[in-house]
Amino acid sequence: MTSTLRLIGVWLAVMALLGLSLGTAYLPMGRYNSIVCVTLAFIQALLVWTFFMRLRWSGLLVRLIAMVGLLWLLLLLGLSLTDYLTRHTIAS
């Protein structure tokens, strides 16, 4: 049952990352706290999607669909930031 073991291994990794993310949250790293936490969350999500949701064994189409939501969100956030990060730079 190697694939069962693999899934359990992935679960252990996700739990370890949870511990790591909780631990680093208590270190005073300023704005990097959030960056680290969210990065760890992305890795956890990647593990879950790759193994639990079987993207590793899926065809190209499904992988594309899985990515497109994230891409579109980046579009929404990225283009909005052109507004929010520069809104007050012109002296009023």
Partner: protein, 545 residues
């Protein structure tokens, strides 16, 4: 169902999807994409005339610069009802959910959509959403405008905003289901040998539209949830007096609502491509470019929403980015117009009603697109945005574009859908009346906008009256133009002469089957053409002689 049995067992060569059960129940429980298309068609026709009635009342009111037949409250509720109904309950489902539903599986050589039960569910969800909207109207209507800008919609409107928003929210799920279904169908159910670049442009257009439906609609749904929460609980992230930002709502709203414009116009482009090639009897000019243009419009359409906010308090840099991207998205639209024109070159052209509608579409879309360039230009937009110029511009795209193309499609595929012919003379007359009425209604509005008349004005300065009367006169012609097809098409559905399987000599897969098609679309597997639109104008001329 019983009636069908009483007529005796229908052999595959005789029966069709319309004879497969006559009871209301057989329609309400059908999973046949063709029947669901007709359910959608009937429903949106009801909504079209509801929205149209609102517009008619508004145009009557605007004959006079001072109150004429209604109060300001009523007027505000009417333009909101007109917008909400026309956008979400007519234009967005119009071509995809009726023509798309009917034709997409046939065009890819499939027996049905991939998820037929989801398809039926989407119609029920749509009707449920419609019920909320009708309930809202009965409760007095809402007065926020279809754009639902905060904080007016959250704190200041005294109307049943939450109910109306719920209707739009629910309908969103119907859009998602339809889009999802089409994407799976195109990917999975294409007949063997029907590669991507052998698909008709209509399929490309519906496919691209579906992607927008699936990815943009949930954004609207959640935005409306946040809006409703803020209205109900009095707090939220859009309320400036509580530290929130009303522009955040606008970003969220337009992230859906700008792509929604492409939901309306991409399928229209698909229809125009089918009809123009058929009646020019010539392959579409630059097929691949046309397909890529559709994809490009769908993708870039997501990156231009900020051009609705140039004067709304958005930062200079954001405006620059969005203005530039808006010009970029205009390129593929321009390509499409040029290619349609070039398709006519060396054709063997006839002018049946669908062709008249399609040519009308190209002309009106051209004007709508070019006036879009004014609004994408930052300096011009600071003058023209939110005036009647904008109203005219988007009506040229949505009514001149989408509705003309919808009519072109309905006429083009009517013999296939119903198995009957309509009166060609009446249909040509209606096409011309609609074209004339449309221009008379909306062209004066460009001038009104340039003259500085803001949209959503119940009363206006007296010197705007002449153009408003002109517009109202046009609207009455337009209304007559819309009633005409309703009458002669209804007559045709009941009493029309039987249509041949392929009355236009068209090349799509859907024309290879009977009219109306059998339940599973094809009696024998369709022949897959080596290239799409394999028309030959010379051969067409020879045949004629």
């Amino acid at each position: 169902m019983n009636t069908a049995v009483a007529e005796g067992p229908a052999t595959p060569a005789e029966g069709n999807y319309l004879t497969n059960g006559y009871s209301l129940w057989s329609w309400l429980t059908t999973t046949d994409h063709k029947r669901i298309a007709i359910l959608y068609g009937l429903t949106i026709t009801v909504f079209f005339f509801m929205g149209g009635a609102a517009a008619t009342l508004m145009r009557i009111e605007l004959i006079s610069p001072t109150p004429l037949i209604m109060s300001a409250e009523t007027y505000n509720k009417l333009f909101t009802a007109h917008g909400v109904i026309m956008v979400w309950f007519f234009l967005i489902p119009s071509i995809p959910a009726t023509l798309g539903n009917f034709l997409l599986p046939m065009m890819v050589g499939a027996k049905d959509v991939a998820l037929p039960r989801v398809n039926l569910l989407s119609w029920y969800v749509f009707v449920l959403g419609g019920c909320f909207v009708v309930a809202t109207l009965i409760a007095g209507g809402i007065d926020t405008g279809w754009t639902l800008y905060t904080p007016y919609s959250t704190r200041f409107s005294h109307t049943t905003v939450v109910c109306g928003v719920a209707g739009v929210f629910v309908t969103g799920f119907s859009s998602i289901m339809t889009g999802l279904n089409f994407i799976v169908t195109v990917h999975r159910l294409r007949a063997p040998g029907l590669t991507w670049f052998r698909l008709p442009l209509f399929v490309w257009a519906i496919y691209a539209t579906s992607i927008i439906l699936v990815l943009a609609t949930p954004v609207l749904a959640m935005t409306l949830v946040l809006l409703a929460m803020q209205r109900v609980f009095g707090i939220g992230i859009f309320d400036a007096t509580l530290g929130g930002d009303p522009l955040l709502f606008q970003h969220m709203f337009w992230f859906y609502s700008h792509p929604a414009v492409y939901i309306m116009v991409l399928p229209a482009m698909g229809v125009a491509s089918e009809v123009i090639t058929c009646f020019a009897r010539k392959p579409v000019f630059g097929y691949r470019t046309m397909a890529y243009a559709i994809a490009a419009i769908a993708a870039f359409g997501f990156m231009v929403w900020g051009h609705h906010m140039f004067v709304a308090g958005q930062s200079l840099y954001a405006s620059l980015v969005f203005s530039f991207l808006s010009y970029v998205v205009a390129i593929p639209s321009a390509i499409k117009v040029f290619n349609w024109t070039a398709t006519l070159y060396k054709g063997s052209i006839t002018f049946e009603a669908p062709m008249l509608y399609a040519l009308g579409f190209v002309g009106l879309f051209l004007v709508g697109g070019l006036t879009g360039l004014y609004l994408a230009s930052l300096g011009m937009d600071a003058d023209l945005s939110r005036t009647y110029f904008v109203v005219a511009h988007f009506h040229y795209i949505m009514v001149g574009g989408s509705v003309m193309a919808y009519f072109a499609g309905i006429h083009f595929w009517w013999p296939k859908i119903t198995g009957r012919l309509y009166s060609e003379a009446w249909a040509r007359l209606a096409a011309i009346v609609i074209f004339v009425g449309f221009n008379l209604t909306f062209f004066p509005q460009f001038i009104l906008g340039i003259d500085g008349m803001p949209r959503r004005y119940f009363e206006y300065a007296p010197h705007f009256q002449f153009l408003n009367i002109l517009s109202s006169a046009g609207a009455s012609i337009l209304a007559a133009g819309y009633v005409l097809p309703f009458v002669y098409l209804t007559w045709s559905a009941l009493h029309g002469a039987a249509a041949a399987d392929n009355p236009w000599g068209a090349k799509g897969l859907e024309w290879q089957t009977r009219s109306p098609p059998p339940v599973e679309n094809f009696d024998a597997p369709p022949r897959i053409p080596v290239r799409p639109y394999d028309y030959d104008p010379e051969a067409a001329e020879r045949e004629r002689r």
